[in-house]
Amino acid sequence: MSSDSRFVPLVLKTDTEPNMIKHFTSTACKFFTLVLVFALISFNNYAQEISKDPAAINAGQALFNANCKACHRVQQKLVGPALAGVYDRTPSIDWIKSFVKNSSAVIASGEPYAVKLYNEYNKTQMTAFSSFKDEDIMNILAYIKAEADKPAPDAAAQTTPDGGGQPAANTGLPSTYLNVILVGMIIILILLLIVLGFLVSALKRFIDQKTLTEEDKEVVHPTVTTGSIFKSRGFVFIVVFLTAALGFKAVINGLYSVGVQQGYAPKQPIAFSHKIHAGQYEIDCKYCHVGVMKNKSATIPSVNICMNCHNQIKTGTITGDAEIGKIVKAYETNKPIEWVRIHNLPDLAYFNHAQHVNVAGVECQTCHGPIETMDVVRQHSLLTMGWCIDCHRKTDVNTKGNAYYDNLVEIHNQSKKTPMKVEDIGGLECSKCHY
């Protein structure tokens, strides 16, 4: 969450990048300074230890996920190289620091390792992270080292696809078996009925051969036949009533679903896949949806954010350059992309992403579903008022570390033992969402 503020400068970088290219020209004078810098660096090269402190590793993981993951993995080569062992193979830790902060300057200085790397990766330039402090980079390195040093996961785990959800189904009886058993039982019941029918008619014939009193005949041949039951008022009433009630229920259900667009998955002007970006490459949602921590709207990323990566990555795995080309074209012609809006709340309802994601700490998937598995985004939730209210009834308020709630929690705990729900602090009130 705290990493949010770091996105902003990152997003802005595209504006300044052309300037950096200019730096290529003014290399000669910088070369000497850099040589000097490297001389100094090599001096204290071994003074820097990569920390094994869990706090540093955690901080590094957050930074890594938010900033590096778009292009790098620890064990795997992606847009950029796999980072495991980077602290051993590069000239020095300080080299890493200066490269991360401003790679183009290092390359421009003609430093051989940087130039080699640059050429090896199709002259792809790494985004400059000038806002990183040295300790941030050290934390990231701590995380990378911790990840790299982990024992290789066993083969079984590796084959399990990401996303999950499957294992949950294994806990109960598979639904197909249940159906088979049901159908079997119904067949047996029908067979039983047929056998019973034969028995009854056989017995009737047997009794008819005897002479019977009138009363007994009535019992054997009742005046109330199946036909007369079907024609009886009571039966007709029940049938009509049931049909009407079911019809009514169907109409009501139909009306309730008016305007509910659950499952709405329109075709977008660009076949952007969340499955690739959020799923496969595990790019943090907040990297692109920059508004989510501070705004009402999470914001659909502006083209310059796409161009942070797609400046370099011009061909996709599935569609080649057809779809990515549209982004580049939009960027070059300065024409915005007209996405089709999927989640449409009515104007009378006020919803604020910052309140839910930043303050309450709700995961994106809670409302948007398994977005990282969607090639085409669809509306996962109902987005009806009942759905909102339901969640507000069930959810505990995220009061941890938030002094705003201190007073409320204190008062709540005086009278109640259960945790404070959103409902308890006015989460069901009209003017929380309607004004």
Partner: protein, 1030 residues
């Protein structure tokens, strides 16, 4: 009475009672209607159509495709849904206010005061608040024009420059006509223009001139300036027809200062005493402790009497003339007793009257304390003589080129008709107004300026006080800064006005700074203001005027007339430059409560013969110097008998859809007396029998002595009662009729628990001047619909916040009919009335669909999407603050003229995106700006800290110049409102219960006895009346 046995029958068939008749007797019509014979009746058609329509509607319920279009390159400082604020300056002629503009997604949507300004100190006015809608006026010019045709800027520049060269080459005269120019950079740009075209002269004029004051100061002290006044230091204020709260010189500044002297509490037990001598009831007069009716011709005479009384005390020679009026002697005594801490001002634009006023202030030693000649103000630089000469030259054909810089003299200068005629003979005429107006349509070229919210500018409202104006939106149309036009025409190589202002500031102010210029500039932009240290402290001066001669001039210049007219600026329309702003047209004038209408105010005594009913009045014809206007009469308590008043600002013909055709232009009645414009006249006044209905929002004038609505007292009474207010309602209980308790102690309801916040409001009736800035602020903030004249007459105006104006009555309290009639010269109370957010709200219990409910923060919530429009709530509201949407006011061509903000694409840009635009058939009311509360809370939550006091303010509270409206959390003992009201829980063990009591002796609740327990407290009105009768 014996029952009649007679039987009547309708016809023979009934008498016969045959079966055919009996069968048909129950049918409504004897003959079957024609439609019943048809195979498919009209009803069948409607049924089928109804089914068809609903079937199609259901089938088409697939929502339309909506687009979401992000930026290509997101600007750094714009985050969708987060507002940005820019400090800027409101400049409209000589009217100035330092402001903060709230923008959403690059569109200005709200204007608020800038607290960093030492001049306006965060105050605003109705005009300033409304000006954001003028930005989106459909009558704005789309680009430069030649005559009625479009032209490109390049062509316009080429033609104008060649004509200017030609004119200046042959020595022809060029004039730049303007209202007061506050901007030093604009003046510098004009200097550049003058340098290129040497025959150029600048003529400034003001709609409401203060030329006489400057002339008087030139005579008295040798400097032709208007000094700074400081009302906050004055213990006694005497104003002779100066409406310093409403329109005189710098009302926002003066209102703020004045309010400081009107605050009264147990800790600050003193307040100023204010005497007002005037003819038309102004809001300044309405706030005065003693208001004395005089005729306009007596303004100078009253000053002379006052001078003589004071001169007597000072042992100086007296002067001749004068007319006795009540309270003058008392005022003189009070003034003399508070020498050095007093202030006497006069609204007259006559040099002679102002010289006498100067002499009075000099006798009292007010120079150096309440009046500062060393810090002159620039609000009114109009030169009546120069402007009159200009009109003469224009008529005589001596002018070859004229540039009207953002002014409209054809409409608002008394001899505008002569300017219009003279313009025909002028070779080159250019107007730079940002919108269509009476002058611009007559000019050969129109070179539209930006609206002030689109433009860079600066201002020097007061000596050493500078202010920057920065654009808060990209220019909407093809307009260009007028100053830039002047620079282009002056062949300046670098004509960019932004660079011009910046460079000026660099050379003027960037000296001896320890940081770089960009930082200095950024700081100035952030603050919006820059102040130089005072060069000289306010000092006493020597008076060198000739009082005797002035008195003689007064005596000879003013003669009493049968009907004396006062021309004044009303509290809503002002001088008429923003007349096309419907927010101002629908804003009720603070005194007359009239909207959308022009009128002539008449004293009740004079109106006796006029058959006047509550709803219908009659026209009168007013004639002066051969010009006559016909206006409906409005009976105005407080108006001096024998005088009438007409506000300016109406009678526009080329302003746009909103203002055109409303009323008459009264500027031509302004005349020249003693070398300056005179806003009074002796006229003929003839009532006619033709009737008319003026759209007024309040026609009931008194509160009929009910202390439960308005509580007022005098300072001395308040002191006598040991700082306790007079009226404490008590209710009897059924257990013991003798035992009466305070209504707050009883309740039928279980009450609520407010564990988090408990929002409350305090409104000080003492410092509320009734200026109505809050009403406009509320309208803009909450997307309140404007409904137009007809609907106001139907009592369907939508204002969430209204200001009730009550007059006192002379009748004894038991005269039920009499107390409904206002006094001839009443005391006035303004009471802002809005949803009281009752804790036991009567509206909530009657709503059948629970559309209005109570929140856990004390708010009475209104949910539009749930409302079905039964209006039970409005019927059950004791305060009558709920407003019903009788029509669809948005996207409805019938309301386009009255409500452009919801009906035109341009106007819609002003809407607050956080507030729903309500549709037809739902109820609405004040929400305590719940969107601001929610936004404030979210900011605190995001920063993981408790909400601070003052972080959440309602729009009305933010707009209030005097701080009369205080909003805050009364659960927080440290909040401003808690301290002001001295609030404490009724039961110490239940700090979060609704039951809170106030220990402020002035605080009361309206209709406390009905036990609805409002969350708004009012502070008793205290008048500093002199109890000994004069």
């Amino acid at each position: 009475m014996e029952e009649s046995k007679k039987v009547y029958w309708k016809g023979i068939e009934q008498l016969a009672n045959n079966p055919e008749f009996v069968k048909n007797a129950h049918h409504e019509f004897a003959q079957p209607g024609p439609e019943e014979d048809l195979g498919h009746s009209r009803r069948d058609f409607l049924k089928m159509m109804g089914f068809g329509v609903s079937a199609v509607a259901l089938a088409a319920c697939e929502a339309p495709i909506r687009k979401a279009i992000p930026y290509v390159n997101k600007p750094v400082d714009i985050d969708p849904s987060l507002p940005n604020y820019y400090a800027s300056s409101y400049i409209n002629g000589g009217d100035y206010c330092s402001i903060v503009v709230k923008t959403r997604e690059g569109r200005p949507i709200k204007i608020e005061g800038n607290a960093l300004s030492a001049v306006t100190k965060g105050g605003t006015s109705a005009q300033v608040e409304a000006s954001v809608l003028s930005l989106y006026d459909n009558a704005r010019l789309r680009g430069p024009k030649i005559g009625k045709d479009k032209i490109s800027w390049e062509d316009l520049d080429r033609q104008v420059i060649s004509k200017l060269n030609e004119i200046s080459g042959k020595g022809g005269q060029i004039r730049i006509v303007s209202n007061t120019i506050l901007s030093p950079s604009t003046k510098a740009a004009i200097e550049k223009f003058k340098a290129t075209y040497a025959t150029t002269q600048v003529v400034q004029y003001d709609q409401t001139s203060a030329f006489g004051i400057a002339k008087a100061n030139e005579e008295s002290f040798g400097t032709a300036v208007i000094p700074s006044y400081d009302f906050s230091k004055a213990k006694v204020i005497v104003s002779i027809a100066a409406d310093f709260i409403g329109s005189w010189i710098s009302p926002i500044e003066f209102t703020k200062q004045y309010a400081l002297t009107r605050e009264v509490s147990e800790d600050k037990r003193d307040m100023s005493r204010h005497y007002q001598f005037e003819s038309v009831l102004s809001i300044t007069g309405a706030n005065a402790d003693h208001r004395i009716q005089i005729k306009p011709s007596e303004e100078g005479a009253v000053a002379v009497v006052l001078y003589n009384l004071l001169a007597g005390k000072a042992g100086k020679p007296v002067i001749s003339g004068g007319v006795e009026k009540p309270y003058i002697a008392k005022a003189a005594e009070d003034l003399w007793a508070n020498r050095g801490n007093a202030l006497v001002v006069a609204g007259s634009n006559d040099k002679s009257v102002q010289v006498v006023i100067n002499a009075i202030n000099d006798l009292l030693g007010n120079y150096g304390t309440t009046i500062d000649l060393n810090t002159p103000v620039n609000y009114r630089q109009g030169d009546d003589v120069a402007m009159t000469n200009f009109v003469g030259e224009l008529e005589g054909g001596k002018i070859d080129a004229v540039i009207f810089y953002n002014c409209n003299p054809v409409y608002d200068f008394p001899t505008g008709d002569k300017i219009a005629a003279g313009l025909k003979g002028v070779e080159l005429s250019i107007a730079t107004s940002y919108k269509e107006d009476e002058t611009g349509t007559l000019a050969k070229y129109v070179a539209p300026d930006h609206h002030f919210l689109e433009a860079w500018n600066d201002a020097e409202p007061k000596k050493n006080h500078f202010s920057l104006g920065q654009p808060s939106i990209t220019p909407i149309f093809k307009s260009r800064a007028a100053q830039e036009s002047l620079l282009v025409w002056a062949n300046e190589p670098k004509a960019d006005y932004f660079e011009f202002v910046k460079n000026n500031w660099k050379s003027w102010f960037y000296k001896d700074q320890t940081f770089d210029f960009q930082s200095f500039w950024d700081k100035c932009l952030y603050d919006g203001v820059y102040e130089l240290p005072a060069t000289a402290a306010a000092t006493a001066v020597t008076f060198a005027g000739n009082v005797g001669a002035a008195a003689d001039a007064i005596a000879s210049n003013y003669k009493a007339g049968t009907w004396e007219l006062v021309i004044y600026e009303s509290g809503n329309i002002g001088n008429g430059s923003q007349a096309n702003n419907p927010l101002l047209q629908e804003l009720p004038d603070p005194i007359t409560k009239a909207t959308w209408d022009h009128y002539v105010t008449v004293a009740p005594k004079d109106a006796k013969d006029i058959d006047f009913t509550e709803s219908v009045t009659k026209y009168a014809t007013i004639t002066f110097n051969g010009k006559s206007v016909k206006l409906p009469m409005l009976v105005q308590p407080g108006q001096t008998p024998g005088t009438i008043g007409i506000p300016v600002g109406y009678g526009r013909t080329k302003a746009g859809k909103v203002a055109d055709g409303i009323g008459q232009n009264i500027y031509p009645f302004v005349n020249l007396v003693n070398g300056s414009l005179n806003y009074t006249a002796n006229v003929t006044f003839i009532p006619t029998s033709e009737t008319y209905q003026i759209a007024q929002t309040q026609t009931h004038n008194t509160y009929m002595g009910r202390a439960t609505v308005v509580q007022e007292t005098s300072l001395s009474e308040f002191k006598d009662k040991n700082w306790d207010r007079e009226f404490h309602p008590k209710v009897a209980t059924w257990t013991d009729p003798e035992h009466k308790v305070a209504p707050g102690e009883l309740s039928l309801w279980k009450g609520h628990e407010y564990n988090n916040h408990h929002w409350g409001m305090a409104i000080d009736l003492n410092t509320c001047t009734g200026c109505a800035a809050c009403v406009v602020a509320c309208n803009v903030e909450n997307n309140v619909a404007l409904v137009g004249r007809e609907e106001v007459i139907n009592r369907r105006e939508m204002h969430w916040l209204r200001i009730d104006r009550y007059y006192s009555s002379d009748a004894p309290a038991d005269d039920w009919r009499g107390v409904e009639v206002a006094s001839e010269n009443p005391d006035v109370v303004f009471q802002p009335m809005l949803c009281q957010h009752c804790n036991n709200a009567p509206c909530e219990t009657v709503c059948p669909v629970a559309a209005t409910t109570h929140s856990t923060e004390g708010l009475n919530q209104m949910t539009y999407n749930r409302c079905i429009g039964t209006r039970y709530c409005a019927n059950n509201c004791p305060y009558k603050v709920r407003r019903f949407n009788w029509f669809k006011y948005h996207d409805n061509s019938q309301f386009e003229a009255a409500n452009p903000a919801m009906n035109t694409d341009l106007g819609k840009m002003v809407l607050n995106p956080d507030v729903t635009v309500r549709s037809r058939g739902v109820m609405e009311k004040c929400s305590f700006c719940v969107q601001r509360i929610q936004a404030g809370k979210l900011t605190a939550k995001k920063e993981r800290r408790p909400l601070k006091d003052g972080e959440v303010v309602t729009a009305c509270s933010a707009a209030c110049s005097t701080g009369a409206i205080v909003f805050g959390d009364i659960n927080n003992p440290e909040s401003k409102i808690s301290k002001l009201l001295k609030i404490r829980p009724l039961d110490e063990k239940k700090p979060h219960s609704i039951d809170k009591v106030t220990d402020n002796p002035r605080a009361y609740q309206v209709l406390e006895e009905i036990g609805v327990k409002p969350n708004i407290w009012y502070l008793t009105k205290v008048r500093n009346k002199d109890t000994a009768k004069a």
